[in-house]
Amino acid sequence: MKDKTADTTTDSAQPQKTGAQCVIDGLVHAGCEVLFGYPGGAVLDIFNCLYDAPFQFVLTRHEQGAVHMADGYARATGKPGCCLVTSGPGATNTVTGLATAYMDGIPLVCITGQVALNMIGNDAFQEADVIGITRPVTKHNFLVRDADELPDIIAKAFYIATTGKPGPVVIDIPKNIQKQKTAALPPASVTMRAYHPDMPINPAEIAQFSDLLNRAARPLLYVGGGAVSGDAAEVLSALAHKANIPVCTTLMAMGVFSDEDPLSLRMLGMHGSVAANYAVDHCDLLISVGARFDDRVTGKISAFASKATIVHIDIDRSSIGKSVRTDLGVHGYVKPVLEAVLPFVQAADHAEWIEQVQRWKERFPFTYPEQGDVIMPQYVIEQIDKVSKGQAVITTDVGQHQMWATQYFRYTRPRNFISSGGLGTMGFGLPACIGAQFGRPDALNVCITGDGGVQMNFQELVVAVEHQLPIVVVIINNGYLGMVRQWQELFYGRRYSGVMLSQHERAPNEHIPEATRYLPDFVMMAEAHGACARRVTRPEEVAPALAEAFASRKTWVIECIVSPEANVFPMIPPGSHVAEMINRTV
């Protein structure tokens, strides 16, 4: 491999700039408004140029925080998120964030520094095979071997990240390339021989689709993240109302169809509503709109929607027929597909079906045991909805609180629920909330998190404080890693192993010589980071604390000490059919 720093020959009449400057120019050209990142030896040249960049740079406290912030920004705005980290450990710290974005189809461009080209493979200081490591968790990645290619690669990276099924793209830039001079400019447009995200819609598929829909007696729309990234909320609503089709959504699509719409059955799947899961089981036509039949949705595959003809609309051809038998695959972006089919869909009332679904909704609402003096976690979520008048943009971590956040907050608009769905990444919520706040500064951004998840990236709180971001972090503290504890309660004979975050009732080999107290003390911890904080332990304290935090326009942490062993119901055990649903309310 040749180090081109020394011997680049380009037309001397052309203005020359360094590869590092190309990175900044490429980001500007791509419309970057805010870059999240963390410096290091292998990106010093880029940071030097960043000093004069026309967009905002946000220094995070961990590279994982940077990727999750870029991700939260992307989910909240629909624009690609951007982050910049150094080589070696900087790059490896992004892997969880990249995998999170990859699973959920979120557009990100992550720039990583790399050791100089002639050092690659030498086990140089802070060297890691970032291309090899990130390959399975990115949509694509590039190792830049010549600064002349850099403007083109940056443009391609944004193009790949934002088209087709969106996803993260890594650009690995060796240090000598950052110093190399080049006259190359960003291309006017991107063309790629082997990548064609805009496939024309097949009219035959549309005809078959409308035919199936017009003949169906009990149709059901099952809507996923593709409807959010594909900006299909409006046409989805038009279709649902034209033919009176009930709608259930996945975790990724909360709010793309308003929870307050009479046709909404809310979320389906393991912790979805009874009505949604019954509807899946009884429908005769299931229309998947940009959803991918995740195992948390389907449960037992062979019994899933067993009475239904299945239509699957997806921009990702490989997703169609991957998990379940599909009777009709419609390949394309969901919005143009639904727009194409809409004129052929006959208005219908499906009165009997709608009535049936309505009965399920009324008979099986989300309910939880009555609370006495102890706060029920579900109550906290309800109060967040009530006090924010349903206007909050919610981010979550992963586990019980995440599921309660889908059940007890009513989402009415897309991009107002931001959560790690596919990968289930704890530690996502707080940085994602910060990223969302940068993207939508006028929104009320609330992070609903647990005492487990929040500790995984708590250090990022200082970023919110120093930028004076009025985010509100609500910690649902039950002293447990609650979802794992719930599974241990239900499926492992209540043997609580490795789930105690508090000091009591630990397994014999986990005993620690600690008297019971708040540990960590989240209030002190938040205050040490410069945030306002309060601990609430009684139900009547919840709403006033939220109201104060929501009104204050300061960074807030509210710790709610909740009932330790509350469970998420309904629950369809993993790999099971809806008939095996557990739904205890007392």
């Binding site: 390959r135 949509k139 694509h140 190792l143 082997a194 990548y195 051809r317 991957k322």
Partner: protein, 166 residues
Amino acid sequence: MKHIINCLVENQPGVLARIVGLISGRGYNIETLNVGPTADPTVSKMTIVVPGDTHVIAQVTHQLSKQVDVIEVVNMTNRRHLDRELILVRVATGNHLSRAEIVDLASLFSARVVAVQEDSVTIQMVGNQETVADFLRLLKPYEIIDISRSGVIAVGRDVVDHDAKR
């Protein structure tokens, strides 16, 4: 069933690793893999033999097609094609009798003896998957000292409308 998948890819560093990683990462098996240049120096052709049912092969094909560096994926098994594999096999010849038998067997398969040693003969054999399997089966009674196989390569036999392709 085994499927022969031809894959045209950008001739760039890392593409082979991407393809192999994709297939293994999703739990599929590669039986043989052959990579070589094409008439266009910017394009490489990979011939991948993957065992699996229709569902598995459809997934492999779609996943490959999705890759940014993959230009075209063709499941050759579904269309008229020629496939060939080259093997070099060194067989022990304990006595003159067995040498004669092995050479005789080779000639039945139009295989060539490319080296002879005191204790062995080395045979070069070219054939499609079936023929190679037959030949190796008939060699079973003898002691195979070493074998190297090129992996399958395949080319389509249908008339290609070059103008339409462009």
